[in-house]
């Protein structure tokens, strides 16, 4: 397992559309939630310089790496950093 999707995911399908390994799948039980298949995910290492899911994901902290650290931390995509800003 390289990457995983957290419950911040808003279900926009973008990562599923760009994953070269078809590792992203919709949660069968929770509408609008997605997961990354741990064995299918290659981290895109054999394909691209950067993981594709994390390169298109619009939601900060929705994708984490092996260390459980967000690939797109707060403020890194929207420029919104103030703590009260998160909705």
């Amino acid at each position: 397992m390289k990457y995983a999707i957290t419950d911040k995911c808003v279900g926009c399908y973008a990562c599923q559309l760009v994953c070269p390994s078809q590792a992203v799948y919709a949660d069968p039980d929770v509408n609008g939630r997605f997961h990354i298949h741990s064995r299918r995910c290659t981290g895109c290492e054999d394909h691209y310089d950067a993981p594709q899911c994390a390169s298109i994901c619009p939601i900060e902290e929705a994708i984490v790496n092996e260390m459980n650290l967000p690939v797109n931390p707060q403020g890194s995509l929207t420029g919104i950093i103030s703590p009260g800003a998160a909705l």
């Binding site: 808003v10 279900g11 926009c12 399908y13 973008a14 559309l17 760009v18 691209y48 310089d49 950067a50 594709q52 390169s55 298109i56 619009p58 939601i59 995509l77 929207t78 420029g79 919104i80 103030s82 800003a85 909705l87």
Partner: protein, 442 residues
């Protein structure tokens, strides 16, 4: 392109109200947009339908927040329910059956139509097979437009909207924090350069492929308001047919970058000034309602806008239900109403729009709870003369009567079409003359 060459009446254009675009457009174009309510204000009696099949986006704009999904919101990029292409076809059939005035089927998000190319093209093909008369249109941020322009034309897309806010990357980097292109997330100046370059090339390709291209520009005071003339000149040079300058929507509670930073939207006079500048170069569209990506109905009422300056003197019927052919929904359980308006020429009811009950939330509550639900349902139909449903409790019945709305359960479990025909026969006498159904202006 030759057909877009403009008569040499620019000094008139500057003094003429910016919305009178017909004189500027050649006759053949006028005919092509005559039944498209987003292109022609005169087409307001025609309904359009946005199919929310495109959830993903490949860029971020500072006026957009992808987290939001509340049916109380009415603005671009917001939907309550996504659909796949089969669901979209089903929805189209269900609306089309009762809405002969449904002329336009579009894909406008909630992400970008061309970031979801598979879903978008699958949907376009299904709708076209079902109804070759339907006018297909899409709106896009333009990042992938050049790539798909010929495929779109081949799929029968005739109307296309591309949002171009600036042609200068220095301005663009204040609007777009990132762009996903060619498997990379670009940021800053590089993102803006890529996006603008692709937008302009895409616009040119789409116009060359024969599509009628409208350019949307979000007017952002202090960021692109001094830049409108350059945008207008450039997009016209590339083949855009008309310009739709829209005011920035930036309420803090929407959680967008601009909203949180306190970036204000333009005043009415600032918007008018920008349109006047652009009108020197291109016809202006001024009746845009900035619809949701799942909006259905005519432009005058289908967007959940609360401010409707024009009072309609026509007979409207609300039918409780969820798209069924029969009247089978209890009033108190209604999540949506189909609204039909009596058409005096045709002497029958014409489908106007579908209203989501939650849209009528006043905004004082974050979300409707059980108590406010009842009031929301009543508010949703308060402007109608008759409400058709299967059953109704005595409290809402009285509340509606007080508002001058007549509840009617006589047609319970009967087809909607028969109920409407029966009511039409009863009221088929001239009503108050000449309701002005013009949509509101900013």
């Amino acid at each position: 392109m030759e057909r877009q060459s403009m008569p040499s009446t620019t000094q008139h254009a500057a003094t003429r109200p910016a919305d009178q675009v017909r004189h500027l457009l050649p006759k053949d174009i006028q005919q092509q947009i005559a039944t498209h309510p987003c292109y022609s204000k005169q087409a307001h009696q025609y309904a359009r339908m946005h199919l929310p099949v495109a959830p993903a986006c490949n860029i971020q704009c500072h006026y957009c927040n992808r987290k939001y999904d509340c049916s109380n919101e009415s603005r671009p990029g917001v939907v309550s329910r996504l659909m796949d292409s089969d669901g979209a076809l089903k929805q189209f059939r269900s609306i089309k059956r009762r809405a002969p005035n449904l002329t336009v089927v579009g894909i406008a998000g909630p992400g970008d139509a061309l970031a979801n190319s598979q879903a978008t093209f699958a949907t376009l093909k299904k709708i076209r097979m079902e109804d070759p008369q339907a006018q297909l249109c899409i709106s896009t941020n333009g990042l992938m437009l050049e790539h798909y322009a010929s495929e779109l034309a081949a799929a029968g897309v005739h109307h296309l909207t591309v949002t171009i806010n600036c042609i200068d990357p220095a301005i663009g980097e204040q609007i777009y924090p990132w762009v996903y292109y060619d498997h990379k997330r670009l940021r800053g100046r590089a993102a803006a350069e890529r996006l603008i370059q692709n937008q302009l090339a895409g616009l040119e390709a789409a116009a060359a492929a024969g599509m009628l291209v409208k350019v949307n520009t979000v007017l952002i005071p202090g960021i692109n308001d001094h830049h409108i003339e350059q945008v207008s000149q450039e997009v016209r040079r590339r083949g855009a047919l008309m310009h739709n300058i829209m005011p920035l929507i930036s309420a803090a509670e929407h959680g967008t970058f601009f909203g949180i930073r306190g970036q204000r939207g333009p005043s009415a006079s600032e918007l008018e000034a920008a349109r006047a500048i652009s009108s020197q170069y291109m016809p202006q569209m001024t009746h845009c309602q900035q619809c949701r990506a799942d909006a259905v109905g005519t432009l005058g009422g289908g967007c959940g806008q609360s401010e409707e300056p024009v009072v309609e003197h026509s007979y409207k019927v609300a039918v409780a239900g969820n798209g069924e052919a029969l009247i089978q929904t209890h009033f108190g359980h209604a999540k949506r109403f189909e609204i039909y308006r009596f058409d005096k020429q045709q002497q029958q009811f014409i489908y106007l729009e579908t209203r989501q009950v939650a849209q009528y939330c006043s905004g004082t509550h974050a979300c409707p709870d059980d108590d406010s639900d009842k009031q929301l349902i009543i508010d949703a139909v308060a402007d109608c003369q008759t409400v058709l449903c299967a059953r109704m409790g005595i409290a809402p019945w009285r509340a509606l009567e007080k508002l001058g709305v007549t509840p009617n359960v006589d047609f319970a479990f009967q087809p909607i079409t028969e109920a409407l025909a029966s009511i039409a026969a009863r009221i088929a006498t001239p009503l108050t003359p000449g309701g002005n159904h013009e949509v509101c202006h900013y």
